[in-house]
């Protein structure tokens, strides 16, 4: 085995910490580059890189689930949305600046305040920090007995703090409603046009090869979230990514003929309902809302069923809302192009 691991220490710093320093350094550089780049297309790509670096940093910090989410959501969906917006609004930024003095003042105020707060923070990585002493040990040492899943993050996410996750699913749904209200429902009849990438044979072939494995991977992430990093959010986003890829290569109309707007609206509502109904079922069984023990005779089995269903609900809502949002942005782009 190579002698490069977390055990290796260079001058009192272990290698994880060195990687941490380098990654965060990169992050600052990228952030500065975003600030000073005048071309918005370049800034958008830099935000993608920024998200990917953040994801890398999260892996170093042991937050694999978060890293997964950040990579798929931040570097994937957010960047695509930004690019489609820029396509509609133009790539150049006006160099004029507003409220520079007030801005600097506010920014410095916040900075000083934070620096002040850092002074008394527990030392980074210290295992005796209050954060690790109170509630966390319960999750780490009891979750196997109470919920029976190796991935503690999934246990906390879907069961201990399942209500937060419900709220989060609703947030995603709300964003879908918002985008639909702002961009959607225009009576835009797509004209039969050639697909945008019809002449890109290589892209078409490669994406045809890639899309089935992406779907497969999404399903794996969805149902393997109990044992490894992953879960409904990541799976939903990956699933959506496959469809977004398909519609970018083969045209929005083709994708829409497979997944129509009414269907996708229905699904986005269905996911939230599924999550809520799991909670209602536990209510009707005489337990508290979202108490999965009520779902089966054996509480552990109940937890398993509950988490499976709930993650499925999350996955469906996230996937359909992401597709919905992308479709609405993309059809705007098509509309503007037709007008030209």
């Amino acid at each position: 085995m190579l002698n490069v691991g977390s055990h290796c220490a260079i001058g009192g710093l272990n290698i994880d910490f060195l990687i941490n320093i380098v990654l965060l350094g990169f992050l600052v550089c990228t952030a500065l580059a975003i600030v000073f780049t005048k071309n918005l297309l370049a800034s958008a790509m830099l935000t993608g890189i920024y998200s990917l670096l953040t994801a890398g940093f999260f892996v170093v910090m042991d937050a694999v689930d978060v890293a997964f989410t950040e990579a798929s959501v931040g570097a994937g969906i957010a960047t695509i949305l930004m690019l489609s917006t820029l396509k509609l609004t133009g790539f150049d930024e006006d160099p004029a600046r507003h409220n520079v003095k007030a801005g600097l003042l506010a920014v410095c105020g916040v900075g000083v305040l934070l620096l002040y707060g850092i002074v008394d923070m527990p030392v980074f990585g210290s295992p005796t920090a209050p954060v690790h002493m109170h509630v966390a040990p319960h999750y780490i040492y009891q979750s196997m007995a109470e919920i029976g899943m190796p991935n503690i993050v999934t246990s906390v996410l879907a069961s201990y703090r399942g209500y937060d996750t419900f709220g989060e699913t609703v947030v995603v749904f709300t964003a879908g409603i918002g985008v639909l209200a702002l961009l959607g429902a225009s009576n835009h009849v797509p004209q039969s046009r050639v697909a945008p990438m019809s002449q890109h044979i290589i892209l078409r072939v490669v994406s045809k090869v890639l899309i089935p494995p992406i779907f497969l991977f999404a399903l794996y992430v969805q149902f393997h979230g109990d044992y490894g990093p992953g879960g409904g959010f990541q799976a939903g986003v990956i699933f959506a990514a496959a469809i977004i890829l398909y519609s970018m290569i083969f045209g929005l109309d083709t994708a829409r003929s497979v997944i129509s707007q009414p269907l996708i609206r229905l699904l986005s509502a269905f996911g939230v309902m599924l999550y809520g109904c799991v909670g209602i079922v536990s209510l009707l069984n005489g337990h508290n809302f979202l108490d999965y023990s009520a779902l089966a005779h054996d509480p552990l089995h109940g937890q398993h069923y509950g988490i499976l269903l709930v993650e499925l609900g999350v996955g469906i809502t996230v996937a359909s809302v992401m597709i919905l949002i992308f479709f609405n942005f993309a059809s705007r782009v098509d509309m503007v192009q037709e007008e030209q």
């Binding site: 900075g111 690790h132 705007r332």
Partner: protein, 118 residues
């Protein structure tokens, strides 16, 4: 060394200031949203950093491992990331509509047009 130990938090401060500065002083609406996302990401880094335990591993239970990083901040930030992208999507949709309505996505232009129409 004592200062270096809090390195992550220093970076949080720097990123937060950069993000906030972009939001306040840049006039381009898409750029503002990018700044907002940098700003939010800095908070994610704050949370995730506080969950790290020296020598710990990812909080996925396995035989033979006894030290895990704190899973709770991970859960919270998972939520916050999704909230962040939801906000971003809504903001971008607004920007698209503003472009259609005003013909510009620069703060200065928009304010000027509002003044004229008054």
């Amino acid at each position: 060394m004592a200062y270096l130990a809090q390195y992550n938090y220093w970076v949080v401060v720097v990123l937060m200031m950069i993000g906030l500065y972009v939001v306040v002083s840049h006039g381009n609406l898409v750029k503002k949203l990018m700044g907002l996302s940098i700003f939010q990401t800095s908070v994610f880094i704050l949370y995730i950093s506080m969950g790290k335990v020296d020598g710990g591993t990812a909080p996925i239970l396995e035989e033979g491992i006894s030290v895990y990083s704190n899973p709770l901040p991970h859960v919270l930030i998972l939520t916050a990331i999704v909230v962040g992208v939801a906000t971003m999507a809504l903001g971008l949709a607004l920007v698209v509509r503003i472009k259609e309505a005003y013909g510009s996505i620069e703060e200065g232009d928009i304010q000027e047009k509002d003044k004229q129409s008054c």
